[in-house]
Amino acid sequence: MAKSQRHLLLNLAGILLVFLVLLLFERHGSLYQVRILNNMAIFITLAVSYNLVNGICGLLHLGPNAFITIGAYTSALLTMTANEKMMNFIIEPLIWPLSVVHAPFVLSLLAGGLLASLFAFLISFPVLRVRGDYLAIVTLGFGEVVRVLCNAFQSVTNGPLGLKGLSPYTNLWWTWGVAIFTIAVTTKLVNSSYGRAMKAIREDETAARAMGIDPFKHLLLAFLVSAFFSGVAGGLLAHLITTISPTLFTFFFTFNLLIIIVVGGLGSTTGAVLGAALFAWGGEALRVVESPIDLGFLRIPGIPGMRMVIFSIILMGVIIFARRGMMGRSEFSWDALWARLHRPAR
């Protein structure tokens, strides 16, 4: 008991520290730094929830972009004022209840998460009947279908034009608050009896069933939780960049998340956090390779695609030569840190 209370205190202290750092950046950081920190938190939320399905349950789910899209659109449509909606939907007007409903930001995020979960629930029946490569393709398919629908349902999504001029509600407190909450909930789930059941299914589904575990029930649970947080993160993202369109959430987006969790270590929440942080920072730094370089006497034009080349090579390199990524399946723990500090490096 004393130990778990100590850990709780340490966790709270850690969170406090994070918020102090955020305060520092909010007061004195540059816009660029704040943007990276916001991206970092959103990627952490996305990666941690994506890892729940891919790393903990061992399914190769390739459609988180569908959940993110649904969260982003739901949340955006709820925070826009009737007037803003009128300005956006010039080709086809927005259909009735959506044209008048309006909700505060928090509620819009929640609604985004819930709707993403509802969608996850609906597709879970075909998706969770299959495994392995088939599951990968089916989820990829649903990601594509959502994009196609976003383009097609002009009276709901404004089609290819997307939604513009959203209020920039998202700030450091929202993004990091949600990220920390996601980490806390996911960790709690993974360490619970339910999480053990999920890991057992990943290790050997037939054996897990022979121990009385219903795979559908537990995979569905992971799927719903993951979709919820992805949806919320989608809402945050929408109100961070303030413009969304169907082209934003393609399979490329999923590919980035996949890199994050593979580099961090499939199956490790800590790894997902580290991977996301690295990606938000490194991905931004890598933009250099795609922007033109001006050496004064010589102008080297930017090379589009170079970043993705580097990302693909990193992904393949990690999966072939260092399959366990940064963390393997281990997690950060205060005890391990303590032991590390008291046993000097070899």
């Binding site: 789930l189 339910y194 037939t206 897990a208 022979a210 121990m211 219903d214």
Partner: protein, 257 residues
């Protein structure tokens, strides 16, 4: 009175191959029954049908008056029939203790929200599961390796962990698929004693497959012999040992070590 456990004329076909052809068996509570036969005779397939890994092509499985035929694997386990696997299927990347704790999950009373909120009801239940799982490890002589990764255990201990895990689902009938495979004679002898003890202590009915004749003959009360999916003999160990059909089946298809 309806029968305790009854297999009636089970048939399993894989494409054109009839792996099991009309298998019938009735188990009485507390019995220890063996199933033997050359490689590929269809023994594991019988287990797979009982536990619902594959639904039988035809035939029925009755258990305490209920029809289990075609029921999915996890629901059969919940009804009180547990098994081990011939080609060990542990959760290799989880700890030995976690492997056993997984078996308690099916009966967990605290719901998802209670687990997520860390309510006292869940916390208490998780502690109980931890304790009872340790008891099973103790019983199988694995308590001292509880924190190790299941995949890192030596072969003999992995087989024991398979049994511990099946036992933790609290079955009434336990199916053991070649529990002594890969064990040395010393370990095999210990295992025979263990199986007997487990049966008495947990009031189990045990149905087991084994190639090691010494092990089976000394342990079980009744034997069924399969060859090419057909039951060629059944009786007490003494009767089976002298049965010319059985000897022919085994000499015809040399068994592995």
């Amino acid at each position: 009175m309806s029968s305790f456990f009854k297999l009636d004329n089970l048939v399993m076909q894989f494409g054109g191959l009839t792996a099991v052809n009309g298998f019938s068996l009735e188990l009485r509570p507390g019995e220890l029954v063996g199933l033997i036969g050359p490689n590929g005779a269809g023994k594991t397939t019988v287990f797979n049908m009982i536990t619902g890994v594959y639904p039988p092509t035809s035939g029925t499985i009755h258990w305490l008056g209920q029809d289990l035929t075609g029921m999915p694997l996890h629901r059969i386990t919940a009804r009180g029939i547990a098994r081990t696997f011939q080609n060990i299927r542990l959760f290799t990347d989880m700890s030995v203790l976690e492997n056993v704790m997984v078996s308690f999950h099916q009966k967990i009373r605290a719901g998802f929200w209670s687990a997520m909120l860390g309510l006292p009801a869940y916390v208490r239940e998780d502690q109980r599961i931890h304790r009872e799982a340790m008891d099973y490890l103790q019983e199988l002589g694995l308590a001292h390796v509880a924190e190790e990764k299941a995949g890192s255990l030596p072969y003999g201990r992995q087989r024991r962990l398979e049994i511990a895990r099946a036992l933790a689902t609290q079955p009434k009938v336990l199916l053991l698929d070649e529990p002594a495979a890969g064990m040395n004679p010393q370990e095999t002898m210990e295992l025979a004693n263990l199986v007997r003890e487990l049966r008495d202590r947990h009031e189990l009915t045990i149905f087991l497959i084994e190639h090691d004749m010494k092990f089976v003959m000394g342990l079980v009360e009744r034997i069924k012999v399969l060859d090419y999916g057909t039951t060629i003999a059944e009786g007490t160990p003494a009767e089976i040992q002298g049965n010319p059909e059985v000897i022919k089946a085994y000499l015809g298809a040399p068994k592995h070590a």
